[in-house]
């Protein structure tokens, strides 16, 4: 064996350089992440609500998120129009925690909003819930906060309302024009971290992005919870609300529907913006979906493709959940 190695020494050394170079290209992280078209998931098997059948083909849309792509993957992605890349700023564990927080909030928002809307039409349907706090999703310029902290009190003011807009308005901390749920100002926050309460002082320069944390106390028909999925993030909120609402109100549609957009539990019941809309459009087109519901403010991002493929798929712009409900009522069997 050694004789053989000695005989081909030069060739082996040259080959090793090439081999290691290729290995580095395939393994070395580029410091970028990528979003690629993903898959649609049926809402039929997600929620467990007594005496309620999810018969409609309503689907959430997800994209695949690739963390820390390699140099080779970045090179491939730069030649693909359906892949978007960006600089990786967070660790995988932070990203995964944020994804879990926003997904949990999205499910709660969907259940609460759907029950509240269904209650308007049918008095037998009811829901009792309480706003327990504001869960920290992200923050800037602060060393004391952690992702996942729950702000239970601000300036010692108890949360006595279910509406976070009203609570923050009472503290003069509500920013109506902010695109996301932002918290800015100088205040003392009582936070719950690992079952322990602590008070920290938040300086003016700190910006917090939060999600409202609700506790569902009672429901009729009884909501038994949801089955965990292999997806994260809040983008399924609107379509999940629509699925629960149509099941509670027994609105049957025969067409295959998919959608994306967050469900904001504010007074307007707005549908919030999401990321990766182009990739989601490709996903639903591949899945042969008939109607694709998106936040109207983001239509411009896929306007060209929507017109190009209008014979295959109809893009429905929605501003609030009421628009989505009107749409589904319009196409019911």
């Amino acid at each position: 064996m050694l004789k053989l190695l000695n005989k081909y020494k030069k060739r082996i050394i040259i080959f090793s350089f090439g081999y290691i170079y290729i290995l580095m290209v395939l393994l070395a992280p580029s410091g970028y992440y990528a979003l690629t078209p993903g898959e649609i998931s049926s809402t039929k098997d997600i929620y467990n609500i007594d005496d309620t059948v999810f018969s409609n083909d309503i689907n959430t849309t997800s994209v695949y998120s690739w963390h820390e792509i390699s140099v080779f993957q970045k090179w491939i992605a730069s030649y693909q129009s359906d892949i978007v890349i960006g600089e990786q700023q967070e660790t995988k564990s932070d990203d995964s925690l944020k994804s879990k927080i926003s997904n949990q909030s999205s499910h709660d928002n969907a259940v609460i909003t759907a029950y509240e809307l269904a209650r308007m039409d049918d008095e037998k349907i009811s829901i009792e819930y309480a706003l327990k706090g504001l869960i920290v999703y992200s923050f800037f310029d602060n060393n004391e906060l952690m992702i996942g902290d729950v702000i239970t009190k601000i300036n010692n003011l108890e949360i006595t309302t279910n509406n976070y807009e009203n609570y923050l308005s009472a503290l003069n901390l509500y920013n109506e024009n902010a695109p996301e749920k932002l918290l800015n100002g100088n205040y003392n926050a009582t936070i719950l971290r690992d079952d322990e309460l602590m008070t920290i002082s938040i300086p003016k320069e700190t910006t917090i992005i939060f999600y409202p944390k609700y506790e569902i106390l009672s429901t009729n028909p009884t909501y038994q919870g949801y089955n965990p999925e292999n997806v994260g993030g809040p983008s399924g909120g609107m379509i999940q609300t629509l699925a629960i609402y149509s099941a509670l109100r027994k609105i049957d549609v025969s067409e295959k529907i998919a959608g994306t957009g967050t469900m904001v539990t504010n007074n307007a019941k707005a549908v919030g913006e999401i990321g990766g809309l182009q990739q989601k459009f490709i996903t639903v087109r591949r899945a042969k979906v008939m109607y694709f519901l998106i936040p109207s403010s983001q239509y411009d991002l896929i306007a060209t493709e929507a017109v190009k493929y209008q014979n295959e798929i109809t893009v429905v712009k929605v501003e609030t959940i009421f628009d989505a409900i009107s749409f589904i009522r319009g196409i019911k069997k």
Binding site: M1, Y19, I22, L23, L26, L27, A34, T36, P37, G38, Y64, W66, I69, S70, F72, Q73, I76, A77, Q80, I83, R286
Partner: protein, 124 residues
Amino acid sequence: MIKKLSYIMSEYKTLRRRLDSNVRNADFFKALLGSLVINAIIFLIPILLIENLFILTNIMTLLKVFIFIIIILFSIMYHYIYSLIIKNYKEEIANVNFKLVILIEGSITAFILSIFALIVMTMV
């Protein structure tokens, strides 16, 4: 057909016995490690290339097929290199053709690894 199968099996057993009788524990470990290392060097780049290419979601199914092809090639190549190393140490079996042993044992290894890969793929 049955006759042919039993002939193949008896041929396989004879070859296996011949291989085992010539292999001491030290030779076995040398051949096993050597075969694994050479196989790792051969298959590392193709496997990493496939793993990297999963970013192209429209060819995912094709890539999964490639994984199974690589599993089959790896299994057969492992047994081939194993016998090659043994032959290198034992001159008395240097001219014996172990093709049948390589194919039968390679197929069994490929089958087991494929089931394992299938379970992993359905879970991810």
